[in-house]
């Protein structure tokens, strides 16, 4: 089939781009050769009434030069995942014991605030959704980039200014020599986001965490920023964690995609595979409810109900109440990510329907067994579940 051939072509291109495995990674310490490895991340927020499990057992990794798309609806925990990686979770939030974020083989979750500062910026940098709230309105754009340069690279004075101008030019800001002494309010939305990206790049990071970087922008400006990010990635060999709710943007930027629902990753696959062959009922519903993919359809398909707020350790499938394919076991067994079929190690789904080629009963038992291994620890560590 023509479409298939096309898909493989793209796949090859993508994977060959990814073959630049790093030798710098300290292989002895790192479980495998991924630059950023998140394992069993659980971030909870304690409120008076309950404990919100915003991120509940999320695991993924990003290789060098790769873009991982993290997609989900509001409240699914994507932004909290990003903030957890950056060490930006404050009281009343905390990372539960057992959560692990490894960067370049180094565990970040037990770093002190001081230790984290050296990672932020120079190792992992973050671009937030709203550039206006990232930039300080009372300092010039140049000041703010220079601040990052002096903190992490020890540059100051004219050197820092020159470097700042160079960075602004790199991110495509025209007339950078004048722009560097302007204030954020004098920049347009797209220019501000460019300035924020320049700031993030100031310390030459290896990983860029982008949290909805184009959501506040118009489509023509969004196209400019996406183009810029992909140019910068090619130039600097950046790994990017790209968070968005827009399935169109994800299709364009990501090499692999992880779909989040209610604090968990429900499906993870290479981008072409995910769009052509979505397995988890939630991913399917999500893709079907996008207007442009159903030209001529009279009515849009919807997913009934709304995203729940997880406040207890999961003992069932959190999507079951909205799932068109739910069966009895879905309310009793908490699914874990498993390969969708034998041999499909890079395509996982957390759903009792999978592995598809296993008898249903055996598949359910497999999920149940994996869940039991997990549960004593997670149940114990959620002491805050009381009202």
């Amino acid at each position: 089939m023509a479409a298939d051939a096309n898909a493989t072509g793209v796949d090859e291109r993508r994977s060959s781009a990814r073959q630049t495995q790093s030798d710098d990674v300290d292989a002895a310490e790192s479980a495998d050769d991924r630059l950023l490895e998140v394992e069993n991340l659980r971030t909870v927020f304690h409120t008076e009434r309950e404990t919100i499990r915003a991120v509940d057992g999320v695991s993924f990794g990003i290789e060098e030069g790769e873009t991982l798309g993290l997609v989900g609806e509001s409240g699914s925990g994507k932004s909290v995942t990003a903030r957890s990686i950056m060490g930006l979770v404050d009281d009343p939030g905390e990372l539960l014991p057992g959560s692990s974020v490894r960067f370049d083989g180094r565990e970040l979750t037990d770093l002190t605030e001081k230790g984290y500062e050296s990672v932020r910026g120079s190792g992992i940098a973050m671009v937030f959704q709203d550039p206006l709230s990232t930039l300080n309105p009372v300092y010039t754009v140049g000041n703010q980039i220079e601040e990052a340069l002096s903190l992490h690279r020890g540059l100051s004075g004219i050197d820092a200014t020159e470097k700042a101008i160079e960075l602004l030019e790199d991110v495509g800001i025209p007339d950078a020599a004048r722009r560097v002494s302007e204030y954020p309010h004098e920049f347009s939305g797209g220019m501000r986001q460019r300035a924020v990206i320049a700031m993030a790049l100031a310390c030459d990071p290896d990983v860029l965490v982008c949290d909805e970087p184009t959501t506040a922008l118009d489509v023509t400006i969004q196209a400019q920023i996406l183009e810029l990010l992909s140019d910068l990635q090619a130039e600097h060999g950046l790994s990017i964690l790209f968070i968005t709710h827009d399935m169109g943007v994800i299709a364009e930027v990501a090499d692999r995609v992880a779909v989040m629902y209610a604090g968990e990753i429900v499906e993870q696959a290479p981008v072409v595979e995910l769009y052509e062959n979505p397995r988890h009922p939630y991913t399917r519903g999500l893709l079907r409810s996008i207007p442009s993919t159903q030209q001529g359809a009279e009515r849009l398909e919807t997913i009934a109900g709304e995203v729940p707020t997880p406040n207890k350790a999961a003992t069932d499938c959190r999507f079951a109440p909205r799932c068109p394919e739910a069966f009895d076991a879905c309310e009793e067994v908490h699914p874990v990510p498993v390969p969708v079929e034998e041999g499909a190690e890079d395509h996982t789904a957390a759903c009792l329907l999978y592995p598809e080629d296993e008898p249903r009963k055996a598949a359910v038992d497999r999920h149940a067994a994996a869940g039991d291994e997990d549960s004593p620890e997670s149940a114990g560590s959620t002491g805050g579940d009381s009202r």
Partner: protein, 450 residues
């Protein structure tokens, strides 16, 4: 379409036309916001000469980027903003001039659903009170009838009767938008302006609301003006679409035709910028340079001329290569950005006594853009003179000079609406005139030709 329900007298003769007839006829509508400065300030030309018809029972979409005037247009149609010029005809009445009982009748029949369900509902009123408020204001029926009507509306938009006594914070975004819709429908309007009604919602909830809106239109024979920046939503729900840019309607036509074979360069660029939810899609993207100009100071010629990828070149410029032209356009864009920047008092003082300011870097700009280029003298001279003017701090004069020497019809004359495509489609671009090549002939191909 189902039979129209009994509506009683709408109060304005023009509203009672049959489905498919012209309900609203907008002609050369202008809405300017005064700057508020004591001296001098230019008004913001939010809507700057817009003409189109709205047919009864249709959904007409208005798309465009932020600041293009689409929301102001919607607000002007329902008299939330006062028009500066032009007219909005309903039958023999002009909406912009209505007053007294007639205005009240129009307001009953023209309602708005706002974008942000967080801020458009009063947190201190119950859902019942919110939906009933328009009925109270317009003295609709008896109190008992009003309560019955509210319960009826709650059911219609998919909420439950017991929600009557709850408060907005107890509802999710999708449910709040349902409340906003119920409030807009309370007085049985003919015409509803939907101002980005699903932009704040997640995609699965968005689909629910779009379905609801389409069901209600079928049931009640409503006419929608659907304002959105999300093109896929517009494509799904609208019969016709108007594409706005800087207060102008650049292209207007039936949805499918406009999406599959866009005629205007701006429409083409806008459509090509939308990311497809298909990772294998091959997109021939036209990435636009820069940002839209300020609506305070729109370009004299075509509104899109500062960013247009297929702008017409002046006569006798055939020997100049493409990248040099691009450099000229970037230079002009840079000067425009500079002329917009407000100079602080100290900078003006420095300029007066001849000290160096941050605007003195124009030589760097020129150097970066034009060195290493083989520039014909017809381009070099105007650029050098403009650089001289800019160095003296007079960017406006520099821009005028460049426009005079290197500008084309796109810079000097406002384009007319040309009929394109098969039926009732118009595009505002000089390239549709017989003496130039069509935009599609020069730009990359876009649209649904796959």
């Amino acid at each position: 379409m189902s039979q129209q329900p009994e509506r009683g007298d709408t109060g304005l003769a023009g509203l009672d036309c049959a489905p498919g007839e012209t309900l609203l006829s907008v002609r050369d509508l202008r809405t300017y916001y005064e700057s508020g400065d004591l001296i001098g300030g230019q008004p913001v030309k939010a809507v700057d000469g817009v003409s189109f018809d709205v047919k009864k029972g249709e959904t007409i979409g208005v798309v465009g980027e932020s600041g293009c005037g689409k929301t102001t247009l919607g607000r002007t149609l329902v008299r939330l903003e006062a028009a500066t010029g032009g007219e909005v005809r309903v039958g023999s009445d002009d909406v912009t001039e209505l007053s007294g009982e007639d205005l009240k009748a129009w307001r009953r029949n023209a309602q708005v659903v706002f974008q942000d369900p967080e801020s458009s509902l009063n947190d201190r009123m119950t859902i019942g009170e919110i939906i009933r408020e328009p009925l109270d204001v317009h003295d609709w029926g008896t109190p008992a009838e009003r309560r019955a009507r509210v319960r009826d509306l709650l059911e219609k938009v998919g909420l439950q009767e017991e929600h009557y006594y709850r408060y907005p914070h107890q509802f999710s975004g999708g449910q709040r938008q349902r409340i906003g819709i119920a409030r807009a429908l309370a007085l049985e309007p003919e015409f509803v302006v939907l101002d980005e009604p699903v932009s704040a919602l997640d995609v699965s909830v968005q689909a629910q609301i779009l379905n609801l809106l389409m069901d209600l239109q079928d049931e009640l024979g409503l006419t929608y003006l659907f304002i959105a920046h999300d093109l896929s939503v517009v494509r799904h729900i609208c019969d016709r679409v108007a594409v706005m840019y800087l207060g102008n309607v650049m292209e207007l036509g039936p949805t499918d035709e406009l999406f599959e074979d866009p005629a205007n360069p701006y429409t083409r660029a806008l459509l090509s910028a939308v990311p497809e939810p298909d990772p294998t899609a091959e997109i021939d993207r036209m990435t636009l340079r820069g940002t839209p100009p300020s609506p305070r100071d729109p370009p004299e010629g075509c509104a899109f001329s500062t960013r247009c990828p297929v702008k017409i070149r002046p006569d006798g410029s055939d020997e100049v290569d493409e990248s040099t032209w691009e450099a000229v356009e970037v230079f002009r864009e840079t000067l425009r950005a500079r002329s917009r920047t407000e100079r602080s008092l100290s900078e003006r003082a420095r300029e007066l006594i001849g000290l160096e300011t941050r605007f003195a870097t124009v030589d760097e700009v020129v150097g970066e853009l034009f060195t290493d280029r083989d520039i014909p003298v017809s381009v070099k001279e105007p650029v050098d003179q403009a650089a001289d003017l800019a160095r003296e701090g007079d960017e406006d004069a520099a821009l005028e000079h460049l426009k005079g020497e290197l500008g084309s019809v796109c810079d000097h004359e406002s384009p007319e609406d040309h009929a394109v495509g098969t039926e009732g489609r118009e595009s505002r671009c000089h390239r549709h005139a017989a003496e130039y090549e069509e935009p599609s002939a020069v730009g990359p191909s876009v649209g649904g030709e796959d």
